[in-house]
Symmetry: C2
Subunit: 330 residues, 2 copies
């Protein structure tokens, strides 16, 4: 950048739009955060409410950073997909009811007269891990969320791989068991329907019910952690019990690792990534989950791509959402 | 290209190395073939024999084209992998015994003093389909062989996607049935172990055996085509019988289409290609196989990437091997 033409230090705004919270941040050109505002999305109030709130939050965040709007060079937006990165239109994300063909980019550009880049959250997170986190220095990076759902983003030579219509990287919807559990997408046996947080919880609940029906007592610890209510059992309880050596929980972790490893082995054969970075649940579980995943990948993937790949927890943690939006514009 | 600096029309040599035949061609800078020489590989004689033969064939092909070696600007080599495109070393392809860590690029460059580009055959074929065939004009092209094995090549924005160590695109080794039939790669239930030519033949033979054991006569037509020997039944017989409406053969085609469709649906979700081009068996079978594949993909893939993708037979047919080598250098 030519400092004579742009004497003022430029800054960027990042907007992270989730189903439960909105966050706006201001960062300098190196990605360093200067200010942040967080508000609940109140998704049930629809997109007009959220947009008006975002407009206010952006102004507040710029002010908090001690800046004026004219020193903001770009706005990056990380939002649930599907969306079209070229037109900037958002198409009915499952967690944002009413956001149907919403021209998000156009509305933000019209409000602030600043160029806006929008990207689905998994892709933006993958780029953030490449720019600031565990993917630095690698030419083929696969990032996989592992929380409410299993999303994915592919970064090749430092750029998000979008595919034909911004739908690439739906790694959680590769089907492993066509007769398996129903997925949120309407198909059966997707990786997401086996290994997302809610999917792990459902498998745990089913196993506990079967054990109780068979008069086995080994479900006790998991049940205790969930206040003795089967419906309360969550993936967090499974990890917690597994860490204390609970046999049933360990078996559930092994099963999760097998499905994840199988899905990742397929991805390793197809994409030959340098690194696969796994989010949320994998970060919380650490090697307890990652080691059996690595073992399964080395057993099921082809030798050459298996030798090339590292499987690691994502590194940005709680900062991921903010940096995802920022990574799009710095 | 500046004609003042390069007054002479440049030509290229293409080398196609297979387990049963070697082919060398000379083409002009538009990919138009001027001459071709074909010889058996005699793979059992090892790499030294094949290399010496290739050296002679290259000279013969240049001569046949009425050219001199100094008018050849580059040599492209399409060869079974695994291989390293940067170092140009070939690592023990299954169909080329003794080609262990063979410095193919270095040996050809040393012999001819011309820059050599080597590439695995599936990737080179994908590039040829992008340059000259069914992939023209698309930014995300997936080519899948469907013959002795199921290989794949991914071309993004006109360039082969190599991944971390030239192993990307092993789409035939995504595992669909971990307890399924043994694959040549040593794992079980890979797409290749279900839908390659030999895999279709094995499934046909198994089904016939079961039908005969149950006293059913419906295996008659397939058996007749194979000279009444179960071991002789090949994928070609299945297609031939299916075309005449044979119920058993049609069932085998449906089953093949289901597995192919499942595998392609996963690839569509992951790669979001504009087009998937299918080789050999899919070309021979046409819509008999392609239509049920398309139906399965539309049922199992996510809506947006499924809407974006075309599934079509590869277009270059018998010219593919020659054009694969040429596509690397024109």
């Amino acid at each position: 950048m030519d400092r004579k033409e742009k004497p003022m230090e430029t800054h960027v705004v990042g907007i992270d739009i989730g189903g439960t919270k909105l966050a706006t941040v201001v960062a300098d050109s190196t990605g360093q955060l200067l200010s942040k505002v967080r508000k609940p999305t109140l998704a049930e109030r629809g997109p007009e409410y959220a947009l008006q709130l975002l407009f206010d939050m952006v102004r507040e965040t710029i002010e908090q950073a001690g800046l004026e709007q004219r020193s903001i060079s770009a706005i990056g937006v990380s939002c649930g997909g599907p969306l079209d990165t070229k037109t900037g239109i958002v198409y009915s994300p499952p967690n944002l009811p009413g956001w149907d063909a919403l021209p998000l980019k156009a509305q933000l550009e019209s409000e602030f007269q600043i160029p806006v880049t929008i990207e689905n959250d998994a892709n933006a997170s993958a780029l953030a891990e490449f720019r600031f986190g565990g993917g630095r220095g690698y030419k083929a990076v696969l990032y996989m969320t592992m929380s409410t759902g299993i999303g994915g983003g592919i970064v090749i030579n430092g750029e998000i791989y979008h595919g034909a219509n911004d739908s690439a990287g739906e790694v959680g919807h590769q089907i492993l068991l066509p007769d398996g559990p129903l997925c949120g997408c309407g198909k059966r046996g997707c990786l997401e329907a086996l290994c997302s947080g809610p999917a792990i919880a459902l498998r745990a609940q089913d196993t506990i019910r079967k054990q109780l029906a068979n008069g086995k007592a080994s479900a006790t610890r998991l049940l205790n952690l969930a206040n003795n209510s089967i419906e309360n059992v969550k993936s967090e309880h499974v990890l917690q019990a597994a860490r204390t050596g609970d046999a049933l929980a360990l078996q559930l972790v092994q099963e999760t690792a097998y499905y994840m490893g199988w899905g990742i082995a397929n991805l390793v054969n197809i994409l030959n990534p340098d690194i696969v970075l796994l989010g949320t649940i994998a970060i919380a579980a650490g090697d307890l989950l990652l080691n059996p995943i690595r073992k399964t990948v080395s057993e099921l993937a082809m030798t050459r791509p298996a030798e090339a790949v590292k499987i690691a927890p994502a590194q940005l943690g709680d900062a991921l959402g903010d940096l995802a939006a920022i990574a799009l514009v710095v």
